[in-house]
């Protein structure tokens, strides 16, 4: 009886041991499979090759046997650049691929000045501009936000890039366009002899001085100025009726006691009569395309958050309502960005994101910039500069 009990106990222990080993084997096998998945299942980074392929395709499209194709200078080609070069950027599932696709391509054609001062051996890119003549063609397509972000992180080369001389900026002023389109806003700002640093369209597209030509005729391009230039956008503040804004140190009314509505335009303003140039001097202005009485789309606000966050990181601007202001706070006769602007959620999301340079979120953008020397049939010399940007997405990385 005792022997039987011992045997059954031993059998039970063996069974437990067997189950234990099965469990261990399953765990080890699962871990091995997971390790194989981790090692072999990691994605390949194809952006470099994608950028090369894109650049090569554009190069092949634009030149043939040393000559730039005749159609390149026709408006039809410039309008149908992607189709004519057999490119299709709308490969993503995004409906708004112009702002979300991971591709951007730009072609700039310059005259080549072969009579430029000859270089000694070893001189390189620093003197490249000596051979660069007039710009004769600019074509671009793709996600313009990739370009904007890339330019913000790319130091000016004097050849392609922005002059990033920093001003002492401590305020960001948010406007609305009081109109339905970016084009209308650009025209209106230019016609009124005013200016702005950025315009954000309803779909989140950020329009800057560098890409304004894609959105408006050249004669209106002066509506947008680089951050290094003081824009005429913030207007004046009436110190009689409102609390004086901290960075505004003098009165803001003219000699008749009226609000100076166009003080920026005066070439020689009387002393102590106009103060609010301070706002323009120390601020960066952003226009949002909006009628002023309609809700702001999420994509537009998201783009604004990214841009403000980036600007704040570069100029060390605190992310609060004292430094990120509406136009109505700098001009007493203005109401924009209007009652529909979601200040609370905007500031909340902005502060939770923090001051983050767009550069850090687009540091993985693969950029390739190559040049081709080419001729036209008349023997004129050109430099074709091809810029390709391939951003990071789940599809290619």
């Amino acid at each position: 009886m005792v022997r039987t009990n011992l045997l059954s106990k031993k059998k039970g222990a063996d069974q437990i041991l067997t189950v234990y080993w099965f469990v261990i084997i399953f765990i080890v096998a699962g871990a091995v499979v997971y390790m194989a998945y981790l090692f072999y299942g990691s994605p390949f980074d194809a952006r470099n090759i994608e950028g090369s392929l894109l650049g090569n395709q554009i190069a092949n499209c634009l030149t043939n046997k040393g000559y730039i194709i005749d159609q390149a200078f026709l408006p039809d080609f410039q309008n149908n650049f992607l189709q004519d070069c057999h490119l299709n950027f709308s490969t993503e599932d995004f409906s708004d691929w112009k702002t979300n696709t991971q591709y951007y391509a730009q072609v700039v054609v310059y005259k080549f000045n072969s009579n430029a001062q000859q270089q000694s051996y070893g001189e390189s890119d620093s003197s490249i501009s000596s051979n660069i003549g007039n710009q004769v063609l600019t074509v671009s397509a793709g996600n313009i936000n990739l370009k904007t972000a890339w330019e913000l992180i790319t130091p000016s080369t004097g050849f392609l890039g922005l002059n990033l001389n920093k001003r002492n900026v401590n305020t960001i002023v948010i406007h609305d366009t009081e109109g339905p389109t970016a084009l209308g806003a650009i025209q209106a700002i230019s016609t009124a002899d005013l200016s702005i640093h950025y315009i954000i369209d309803r779909d989140g597209t950020i329009i800057s001085p560098d890409n304004v030509n894609q959105f408006a005729p050249a004669q209106y391009a002066n509506a947008l100025v680089p951050e290094s230039t003081i824009a005429q956008d913030a207007g004046c503040y009436d110190t009689r009726s409102k609390t004086q804004w901290p960075i505004c140190s003098a009165t803001c009314t003219d000699s008749n006691g009226l609000i100076a509505t166009s003080c920026q335009k005066l070439s020689n303003p009387p002393p102590n009569e106009f103060c609010c140039l301070e706002f323009n001097v120390k601020s960066i202005g952003i226009e949002l395309v909006n009628l002023g009485n309609e809700p702001y789309p999420d994509t537009q606000i998201k783009s604004l958050i990214n841009l403000v966050s980036d600007i704040s990181s570069r100029y060390n601007i605190p992310l609060d309502r004292a430094h990120i202001v509406g136009h109505y706070q700098t001009s007493s006769y203005k109401v924009d960005p209007g009652t529909q602007f979601p200040w609370d959620t905007f500031i909340q999301e902005l502060t939770s994101r923090g001051a983050v340079a767009i550069a850090s979120s687009t540091a993985n953008t693969e950029q390739q910039q190559r040049n081709i020397y080419a001729l036209d049939k008349s023997g004129n010399q050109y430099v074709i500069q091809i810029l390709t940007l391939v951003g990071k997405t789940e599809k290619n990385v």
């Binding site: 981790l38 090692f39 470099n48 090369s52």
Partner: protein, 153 residues
């Protein structure tokens, strides 16, 4: 007897617990190593091709000098670069491609050094792995070659 059995059971159980822990520790370590080794992989760029330099070389040879004669004809006749086409070659190829090759690029007549490019041994590199190489027959059994060695990526 009872105590001895109990002690043996405790020892055996402890052994298994320790063994199990060791197995788990080894698994975690190897998983961690696998996750480190399994990061995003870069696809290597194909070597030996630079379509931009190739196209520029063609356009360069088609460029006419002040006498209206294309560069390829001049090189074919003279057998070497002259001050016009040599300096133009520098303006094009050093300016546009030195960022990729720095001083490791050469343009000239196949196999010959010239006064315009610091060829070193690059002018004699033909079809070697890793080198970008293009040559165009300009006549009279003369070949204009572009040779460059990209910086390692």
């Amino acid at each position: 007897m009872f105590n001895q059995n109990k002690r043996a059971q405790i020892a055996e159980t402890t052994t298994w617990i320790v063994a199990t822990l060791i197995i788990f520790v080894i698994l975690i370590v190897t998983l961690f190593i696998a996750s480190l080794m399994g990061h995003t992989k870069n696809l290597p760029q194909p070597l030996g091709a630079d379509i931009f330099a190739d196209k520029s070389l063609t356009a360069y040879l088609l460029t006419k000098g002040t006498n209206g004669i294309p560069i390829y004809t001049t090189i074919s006749a003279e057998g070497q670069l002259n001050s016009f086409n040599g300096n133009l070659a520098k303006q094009i190829f050093l300016n546009f491609y030195s960022g990729f090759y720095h001083d490791r690029l050469y343009l000239g007549v196949l196999g010959q050094d010239n006064d315009y490019f610091n060829s070193g041994a690059i002018s004699h590199k033909v079809f070697e792995p890793g080198f970008v190489f293009y040559s165009i027959n300009v006549g009279n059994n003369k070949f204009v070659q572009f040779t460059a060695l990209p910086w390692p990526q």
